[in-house]
């Protein structure tokens, strides 16, 4: 319980620092009054607009005001689209979630399967192959993998579309490009965890009892290896979300990452701000939920804390 409270306190701290950084993003980008009226505006006109926008108040008051509005979902309007930025964010969020989820499935299914096989057939040719693949998978930047995939499967073979969103074919390359790095990490982790468990005493007991090898692997080893995998998956969701920024740019995927990068180019700061605050919040909350879940799944951890 003490742990939960401490973790919640930390969550609040992280969220406050995120809000500070994002507030600074908007405040340090020049005088909004000049941005509205142009460089030729008179001093009186500028002062009037500043008063209207509340910019003549102390910075701390402005920050608290910003925080209060943010808590009620008011993040201001996009300077480019003249629309509430929260609406724009929500419009684009499903696309990013779709991509992140698909990449997660690849990471877990591909990485998990390959990792288990490598552990069960330890030191075989398959194991060597898997270990080599995981080394490469962790060394290739996702965006480069994505471009290579476009060159091969879209430009040369013309099997898959080079960008955009819609059908399953559109999802295939972006999710593979994003998921490969994490599949490599999952494979490496699962292989290690399975090897540890396969050598544990209780597995030897199960074998001695005469449980078939298949049962040993599936029922005894895999279930215990799964505990660590849950944490790994939770950490990966957060990282996949921020990794999506790059992959969305490569594949013109209409998600929040691409929107944020374009907003930076067009200096649409309220839009940048909402993307950063909300994605960072999602990231932090997912990390915390994972951490708590881990402690619920594994009773040993409950005693330890």
């Amino acid at each position: 319980m003490i742990f939960v409270i401490r973790r919640l306190g930390e969550l609040v701290l992280v969220l406050v620092s995120i809000s500070l950084v994002s507030f600074a993003v908007l405040r340090l980008t020049g005088d909004p009054a000049i941005a509205i009226l142009g460089p030729d505006a008179t001093d009186e006109a500028l002062a009037r607009v500043r008063a209207e926008l509340g910019l003549d108040r102390p910075v701390i008051v402005q920050y608290l005001d910003f925080l209060g509005k943010a808590l009620t979902g008011d993040f201001g309007n996009s300077t480019r689209f003249r629309q509430p930025v929260l609406e724009l964010f929500m419009e684009r969020l499903p696309a990013t979630l779709e991509l992140t989820l698909a990449a997660l499935v690849i990471s877990v299914l591909l990485g998990g399967t390959v990792g288990i096989l490598a552990a069960v057939f330890r030191n075989s040719f398959l194991d060597t192959l898997v270990r080599a693949a995981t080394l490469f998978g962790q060394a290739i930047p996702s965006f480069f993998l994505g471009i290579v995939a476009i060159i091969v499967f879209a430009a040369q073979l013309r099997w898959l579309p080079a960008g955009g969103r819609g059908t399953f074919a559109h999802l295939l390359m972006p999710s593979l490009a994003l998921g490969t790095y994490y599949a490599a990490i999952t494979a490496r982790f699962v292989r290690g965890a399975m090897l540890d468990v396969l050598n544990a005493d209780f597995v030897r007991t199960a074998r001695a009892k005469g449980v078939a090898e298949r049962g040993v692997v599936v029922r005894h080893a895999f279930r215990n290896a799964l505990i660590g995998v849950v944490t790994l998956i939770g950490l990966q969701i957060g990282n996949l979300l921020s990794g999506a920024v790059v992959i969305e740019t490569v594949f013109s995927w209409p998600g929040i990452g691409r929107m944020a990068v374009q907003a930076i180019y067009t200096r649409d700061f309220p839009l940048v701000q909402v993307t950063i605050i909300l994605s960072a919040t999602i990231f932090v909350v997912i990390n915390m939920v994972t951490d708590l879940l881990y402690r619920i799944i594994d009773p040993r951890m409950r005693v330890a804390t």
């Binding site: 993003v25 980008t29 060159i151 990794g243 930076i264 940048v272």
Partner: protein
């Protein structure tokens, strides 16, 4: 020392890693005057020439990009930029982490819990988003990029050094020195650093690979190294628009990144086995 080299070279992957790292160092130190061409000079007459193994000429061994710039020269120049960024960034995070780790372990109490909370916050923060946010505000320049990448990695070192500091501080000779009123902070530092130096070298080696990946991603988005300075990430971004007529534009710098990251990961694995067998 001779035993060290022997062990490293016996590990096949580590030896490959070491060879590539040495190669990278040579390329990074290669004088600009000895390049086959000026890496930033455009020449429309030489646009989109393929590499020599795909029907090009030796004059532009790795081909040219959409502006007719020589890709071999650009990749070499980009190596210099990426290597300098990675080295300085890792140096910054190591220094920061060691300093804060010693402070946390030595002073304890409020200082310790403040620094450890910072570690937790840092590890919970989405790095790429933070870097994008700051660059969105202040614009991108090399010092800012290096600083951001440097700040991104300190937490690991801090944890490591703090644990070691706590261990050393609890030892009798430190207690004794404090009782005698001599500077025990200096004593602690003197005993902590040799004990953690090998682990720090191992962590630093992996960190260089991580910074290569992070920097190339930021530069790919157009928020890192700015043109005309070539870097691997910006070169891949150039190639993104020419996947049909110039596949080599993105592929050449991409292969450079993969090799560099692999090399430092291999070397890190090898160093860990040799220097620090207990952390396996």
């Amino acid at each position: 020392m001779r035993r060290f080299w022997k062990l490293i070279l016996r590990d096949r992957l580590a030896a490959i890693g070491l060879v590539i790292v040495v190669l990278l160092a040579v390329v990074a130190l290669w004088p600009a005057a000895w390049l086959p061409a000026n890496p930033t000079r455009a020449n429309p007459a030489l646009r989109l020439k393929p590499p020599v193994f795909a029907g090009g000429t030796w004059g532009h061994a790795l081909g040219t990009d959409n502006l007719g710039r020589d890709l071999l020269s650009r990749t070499v120049a980009g190596t210099k930029v990426s290597v300098v960024i990675a080295l300085v960034a890792v140096l910054i995070s190591a220094t920061l982490g060691i300093g804060l780790g010693v402070a946390a372990g030595y002073f304890g109490g409020a200082v310790d819990s403040l620094i450890m909370r910072l570690v937790d916050i840092q590890l919970a923060f989405p790095l790429l988003l933070l870097i994008i946010a700051v660059i969105a505000v202040v614009g991108s320049s090399l010092p800012i990029l290096i600083l951001l990448l440097g700040i991104s990695g300190w937490a690991q070192y801090a944890r490591l050094v703090r644990a070691e500091t706590l261990r050393v501080r609890a030892q009798e000779f430190v207690e004794a020195s404090r009782a005698l009123g001599t500077g025990s902070l200096r004593l602690v530092v003197k005993h902590v650093l040799p004990n953690v130096s090998t682990t720090i070298i191992v962590v630093g080696t992996f960190e260089i690979a991580r910074v290569f990946l992070l920097e190339s991603a930021v530069s790919f988005l157009g928020l890192g190294v700015q043109p005309p300075t070539p870097s691997w990430g910006t070169m891949i971004a150039d190639g993104r628009d020419y996947v049909y007529e110039g596949w080599w534009i993105a592929t050449v710098p991409g292969v450079a990144i993969v090799l560099a990251v692999l090399a430092f990961n291999f070397l890190g694995d090898g160093l860990r086995d040799v220097l620090d067998p207990k952390t396996r």
